[in-house]
């Protein structure tokens, strides 16, 4: 039933975080018309969630530049559902279908830049399904969406530099951060600190975070083993070495690093690397002609890497190779930071053994650990237990089963997320700019 009107930009950018915003701006500067689509109600992605053009700093600057570009159109609240390949004027082009609050939208473009970022890795432990146990980046996102944490007791746990940024943000909103528990050991953290200090700009960020978190215990080699509460979270038990201790809290914000979000890339048919990241050339080209990838989905490395890759991919995709003279030097710096991240925050093996037999692993279908232990692969688990077959389609339990059972989480198939019958049947409506009243929250 889907028919015209179809949006036909030169470049479709999916994801409006640091990589996507940079890519959209760069492509438009080269003369291309760009459609920038994002699932969220506004720009910024996860790291710059709630980004406003009025704000200072590099994020605000970037957004103002994007908004000043008449060649960039935006489509927010747009979730990618389906992709087809069609014959364009002189080469294959992609048609992407999005679900939006205003109904289905279809976009045909010869060039696609995927900037879908990363999501948190969640690991099951007894009690992790209690209301009040949330992601670390998850709680940060909820607070940016207006969740009130004033006076709430929060334990931040898991792994990675994100924990510190989350803790500082929560504290700024009036939360009482009881402790930050980092599973990596002291040696790893010291090595990471040195690597970050060598990477320009990161030392200043670290000093700011340290100041924002003065007085908050930062516990290395410490991880959650159990969450308890009557109807919702009341208490978490942490382990360090052989010692366990309990902390009373209203929220446990636990994230075990970030996982490249490659689902859109898989739908486009892009090849993935051994670490589950999208494989790209030095120019950001994926294995599918005309499809590029930039940012966390090519390997988790932070916003500087994302911005650089967004710039490089857009230059390469729109024939602006002359702008790339400084890129190799910058790429070396972000890559060394990325490598330090991976080394320093590698997950300790005990984390794969926290789940008890009755602990739910797949939250959508309520599949317990005991039911999955007898399975040998993700596909077998899906067939036998319905693991990964609920609304989230394995986005939470898939990365968890990688860590728990060493499975390769695979088998993305269209539609990427639940699709309403109305969207399937509706005529795609033409796109129009958001009215001013629909400022992102």
């Amino acid at each position: 039933m889907a028919s015209e009107p179809l949006l036909t930009p030169d470049v479709l950018v999916i994801g409006a975080g640091p990589a996507g915003l940079t890519a959209a701006l760069t492509a438009a500067q080269g003369g291309a018309s760009v459609l920038l689509a994002d699932l969220n109600p506004g720009p910024g992605g996860q790291i710059w969630r709630g980004l406003k053009a009025g704000q200072g700093g590099e994020a605000g600057d970037l957004l103002r530049q994007v908004q000043a570009q008449p060649k960039v159109q935006t489509l927010y609240g747009a979730e990618l559902k389906l992709v087809e390949t069609v014959q364009g004027r002189n080469r294959p082009e992609r048609v992407a279908q999005f679900g939006t609050p205003g109904g289905a939208r279809r976009v045909q473009a010869g060039t696609v830049i995927l900037a879908t970022g990363s999501s948190e890795r969640f690991l099951p432990f007894p009690g992790w399904t209690l209301p009040g146990v949330v992601g670390a980046g998850g709680l940060q996102a909820m607070v940016k969406g207006g969740l009130d944490v004033k006076g709430a007791r929060v334990v931040v746990a898991g792994s990675g530099p994100l924990l510190l940024a989350v803790a500082a943000g929560l504290r700024a909103k009036g939360a009482k951060v009881v402790a930050v528990a980092e599973q990596a050991g002291v040696g790893s953290l010291a090595a990471f600190g040195l690597a970050a200090a060598r990477s320009g700009g990161k030392a200043g960020e670290a000093a700011e975070l340290a100041w924002a978190l003065r007085g908050v215990p930062y516990l290395p080699a410490t991880f959650p083993v159990r969450a308890e509460g009557e109807k919702q979270l009341e208490r978490v038990t942490l382990r360090t070495g052989r010692a366990e201790f309990g902390l009373r809290c209203d929220w446990l914000a636990a994230g075990f690093g970030l996982v490249p979000d490659t689902r859109a890339a898989a739908l486009f048919g892009c090849a993935l690397g051994s670490g589950g990241e999208v494989q790209v050339s030095v120019w950001g080209a994926t294995s599918v002609p005309g499809v590029y990838a930039a940012g966390e989905l090519t390997g988790v490395g932070g916003a500087d890497k994302a911005r650089l890759e967004g710039f490089v991919a857009a230059c390469a995709a729109t024939g602006q190779v002359e702008r790339l003279h400084d890129a190799p030097r910058q790429a070396e710096s972000v890559r060394s930071f990325q490598a330090a991240l991976g080394r320093s925050f590698a997950l300790r093996p005990q984390l794969a053994r926290l789940a008890a037999p009755a602990t739910i692993v797949c939250r959508c279908e309520d599949v317990p650990h005991a039911a999955l232990q007898g399975c040998h692969s993700w596909t077998e688990a899906k067939l036998h237990t319905r693991c990964g077959m609920g609304p989230c389609q394995g986005r939470i339990c898939g990365p968890a089963t990688e860590t728990l059972y060493g499975w390769r989480f695979s088998g993305v198939r269209p539609p990427l997320s639940p699709l309403s019958i109305a969207d399937l049947l509706s005529e795609p409506a033409p796109i129009s700019p958001l009215p001013a009243s629909q400022e992102p929250i």
């Binding site: 969640f122 399904t129 209301p131 980046g137 940060q140 919702q232 939250r363 989230c392």
Partner: protein, 81 residues
Amino acid sequence: MPEILLNGRPVRVPAEVTLLAALHAAGYGSTRVSLSGERRGALCGMGICYECRVRVNGTTQRSCLTPVQDGMRVEEVPNGL
């Protein structure tokens, strides 16, 4: 402050926030019941986990991605959906 109809009962909630934040402000820290009957609340905060889904004006939406609006009818999803 916008007013939403929460399980049939009018509730005033903060403006300019997500429906998830509004539900929490109204005292709903849990958004659904799982297949096996556990109470669940939001997990990821970014539209991935679907734990925060509720019925909004008759269709299922992720409350973390939905800006709250005056007059919204919000109900818990039927068990298992």
